[in-house]
């Protein structure tokens, strides 16, 4: 299986990956007539520079930031970081600067000085966030959304990016094999499960935990769950030291990062010494599998994402024979991509609508995390996530984890 004529390597070539991403950004900068990029967001900086940083709370990451300046036509990006040890080895020393603090006035003035020196005093730049101090300091420059450049570059993954995602997913799955047996002991808490997960995931080499693991106990009926703005399910809800009880249906969701790339693990588990699903629960799983397999069968280069969504809807035959409902959560999607962000484009089945999905055409290198949801009011429901990449002639899977305690018939 190839992606744009190349095999996905067992281990990513990180230097090649960074060079190819830089080339893609440069191509988009020229195409959009921009003089450069100024990037403040953690995931955008990771994409543009390949710099590593420790996992940080959003409050710290938004004040003691990593920042990237990409100069159109230049061979390397500039990196501003409190963590110089995370700079890629090929980055010239004069391209690695102390951390920037663009959210405060003096820090913004310092960064703006670099921007003017590197890009010019009246440059037209793409930028992802403009804190007010930076907006004042960048007076005279023309600020455009960086998403136009980043979005196009990130849409199709290179083979090394796919290798990173597969690796991140693999270690997440390995750690989850250690966590799941704990559910046989009712009384264990959500955060006990997290303790086991983080212990193993760090040992397996995760750079950081991207999403505090979700171990949500699903109500039997929607009405018994939290009130929602749209009447659909409340998901995800944050974890705490709440004990789990025998028979609880748990929806698991988390992600960790490797090489900057996120994994996305989703499974449905059952609490108790004997977690064997009831026949009704087994039927939910089989519906889920039918939706997932039908979605997958529709995926190949040249197919619109609307066709994939329609295949998913058509495949979900409910017990009453009806099949018109969307088998995914109202505020989410049938599928989304994953990269340096845990959810990025392409997304299928969002409120962007059918026209958007129809115009979005699958191509080699795109990644889809399928997360159909089968809700069976009265008996909770089933949700899992599996990841595929679009190849030159179909799909390849990037996730590989059993559905225990559910077993395909």
């Amino acid at each position: 299986m190839t992606v744009n004529g190349r095999e996905v390597p067992a281990v990513a070539d990180l230097a090649r990956m960074r060079a190819e991403r830089h080339a893609k950004l440069q191509e988009q900068l020229v195409a959009r007539g921009l003089d450069g990029l100024v990037l403040l967001g953690t995931s955008a900086v990771a994409y543009a520079t390949g710099a590593e940083a420790p996992g940080c709370d959003s409050s710290r990451a938004a004040l003691l930031r990593t920042v990237a300046i990409v100069v159109t036509g230049a061979s390397h990006p500039h990196l501003f970081t409190p963590y110089p040890e995370g700079a890629p080895p090929e980055l010239p020393a004069d391209h690695v600067h102390p951390g920037a603090v663009p959210d405060l006035d003096d820090g913004a003035a310092q960064l703006a000085e670099h921007v003017r020196q590197l890009l010019g005093p009246t440059a037209r730049i793409g930028i992802d966030e403009v804190p007010h101090p930076l907006a004042r300091a960048l007076t005279g420059l023309e600020l455009k959304p960086a998403s136009a450049v980043l979005g196009v570059a990130k849409l199709h993954k290179t083979v090394d990016e796919l290798a990173c995602i597969r690796q991140a997913q693999h270690i997440t799955e390995q750690a989850m094999l250690e966590v799941q047996p704990l559910l046989r002991r009712p009384g264990i808490t959500q955060t006990d499960l997290t303790a086991c997960f983080v212990h193993h995931i760090v040992g397996l080499g995760a750079e950081y935990v991207g999403i505090d693991p979700i171990w949500q106990v699903m109500p039997r009926t929607k009405a018994a769950g939290p009130w929602t703005v749209h009447g659909d399910l409340a998901f995800p809800t944050p974890s705490g030291p709440q004990p789990l009880h025998e028979g609880d249906v748990i929806w698991v969701d988390t992600g960790v990062h490797i090489g900057g790339y996120a994994s996305d693990f989703g499974r449905t588990w059952i609490v108790g010494p004997d977690p064997t699903p009831t026949p009704r629960q087994q039927r939910q799983f089989e519906r889920w599998l039918a939706v997932f397999h039908a979605s997958l069968a529709a995926c190949r280069p040249g197919v619109s994402t609307l066709e994939v969504a329609r295949a998913a809807i058509a495949a979900d035959e409910r017990a009453d024979g009806a099949n018109e409902a969307k088998p995914w959560i109202e505020h989410f999607y049938l599928a989304h991509s994953v990269g340096t962000d845990s959810a990025e484009m392409p997304m299928i089945g969002t409120d962007l609508g059918d026209d958007f999905d129809a115009a979005q055409v699958l191509a080699p290198g795109m990644v889809l995390v399928f997360e159909p949801v089968i809700w069976d009011d009265g008996a909770a429901g089933y949700r899992s996530e599996d990841i595929v990449a679009i190849t030159d002639d179909g799909t390849m899977t990037l996730s590989d984890h059993p559905y225990d305690p559910f077993v395909a018939a």
């Binding site: 996992g55 938004a62 966030e129 600020l143 703005v229 995800p236």
Partner: protein, 381 residues
């Protein structure tokens, strides 16, 4: 305090929430803001008290919550009312949209928007002005970040108690790292021990995963925050910088240990220098002092300024000021703010000693919240 210690991830008490709302609306009034649009998780926590899913890294700026001065309501982007405090009514919630037009429609329904004159945002992005123009056509878009920081920075007694409770969780993180520290162990194992201890305490998220550094015994000494899997050698100075959250409030401190050996005389000398330097800076932490005064206090000890922020604000995570060799010199310390003061002193051939203490800047002087932990080097493993 005991109840707090076992319930670190619960929605906070009504009195704490009410106090924060009062401060937020007072700051809006002082800055003549009709509307305040907040985007960062810590801002949402301050304004609403709602528990949110924790994700690592900075998030793109977007309208995560909207405070309306005319109505006194705070509106929250949340699909459900799970762990949303009662004072945020169901009518005050708006959903998650991927289509900006749908988001604008949802926001436009917020009472009081259409007549707003001055709309503050805590940050911005290209195109955000168009969204504001669509939902509040007569409004002027202004910097709301100063109002937010003014409201957030001075801490109530209850907020300081929560920081102290977070320090107690960080102590469990320190104990776990100390137990895991021995010659042959790795920094990565220490990180795993820290995160595991936080989760076991019911508070699994960390201010940073960069918590352990075995400092070099030969060549230049740097304080790394990205861990490696090189085995730690007997006699190495290892910095441990645990941190934790209690109901959103951050607590933590740094101490340095020697792996598998009694501290040597040069190591003890280095630790003494680090301790003297941090004490000098802490003593300068008084209301009205400027960042420059902290820098001057450090420099009077004769230590070179390190590439580590000397002081950062602490509360619902990291807050201003950020004081280092070039930044924050004009920042004025307000009464009842909490600062993390860091002291990094290193010497080639010996290693480095990191100390970090949390200090409440009070009217009668600095109160060290992390004083029960000696600065002295100790052997572990």
């Amino acid at each position: 305090m005991t109840a707090m210690a076992i319930d670190p991830s619960a929605v906070d008490d009504e009195a704490v929430r009410r106090n924060r709302r009062t401060r937020l609306f007072a700051a809006m009034e002082a800055h003549d803001l009709d509307l305040l649009i907040l985007g960062r998780p810590a801002e949402v926590a301050f304004a609403t008290g709602a528990r949110q899913l924790w994700t690592a890294g900075s998030r793109p700026f977007g309208p995560a919550c909207v405070a309306v001065r005319a109505t006194g309501h705070i509106h929250l982007l949340s699909v459900s009312d799970y762990d949303v405090p009662d004072e945020i009514g169901r009518d005050d919630l708006y959903g998650l949209w991927w289509n900006p037009a749908n988001l604008a429609r949802a926001l436009a329904e917020i009472p009081g928007l259409a007549t707003a004159r001055r709309v503050g945002t805590s940050s911005s992005s290209p195109g955000f002005d168009r969204l504001v123009a669509a939902i509040a056509p007569d409004a002027q878009l202004v910097d709301g970040s100063r109002a937010v920081w003014e409201a957030r920075q001075p801490k109530s007694m209850a907020e300081v108690e929560r920081i102290v409770a977070a320090i107690a969780i960080a102590e469990a993180g320190l104990a776990a790292m100390e137990a895991a520290l021995h010659p042959g162990a790795t920094e990565r194992e220490l990180r795993a021990a820290h995160l595991t201890a936080l989760a076991a305490a019911g508070a699994p998220t960390a201010p940073t995963e960069g918590v352990a550094c075995a400092t070099a015994t030969t060549g230049p000494v740097t304080l790394r925050r990205i861990d490696v899997t090189t085995p730690i050698e007997a006699g190495q100075l290892v910095t441990l910088d645990p941190g934790a959250f209690h109901r959103g409030y951050e607590g933590g401190f740094a101490r340095t240990r020697v792996a598998g050996a009694a501290p040597s005389t040069p190591q003890i000398d280095l630790a003494a220098r680090s301790s003297v330097a941090i004490a000098a800076v802490i003593d300068a932490c008084r209301p009205g002092a400027r960042g420059a005064d902290l820098v001057a206090a450090w420099q009077r000890t004769g230590e070179p300024l390190a590439p580590v922020p000397l002081a950062t604000g602490v509360g619902l995570g990291t807050e201003p000021p950020i004081v280092d060799s070039t930044l924050g010199h004009d920042a004025v310390l307000a009464a009842r703010t909490v600062l993390a003061i860091s002291s990094w002193v290193s010497k080639e051939g010996v290693g480095g000693v990191l100390l970090r203490d949390l200090v409440l800047v009070d009217d009668d002087g600095p109160h060290v919240l992390t004083a029960r932990h000696s600065h002295a080097l100790e052997r572990r493993g």
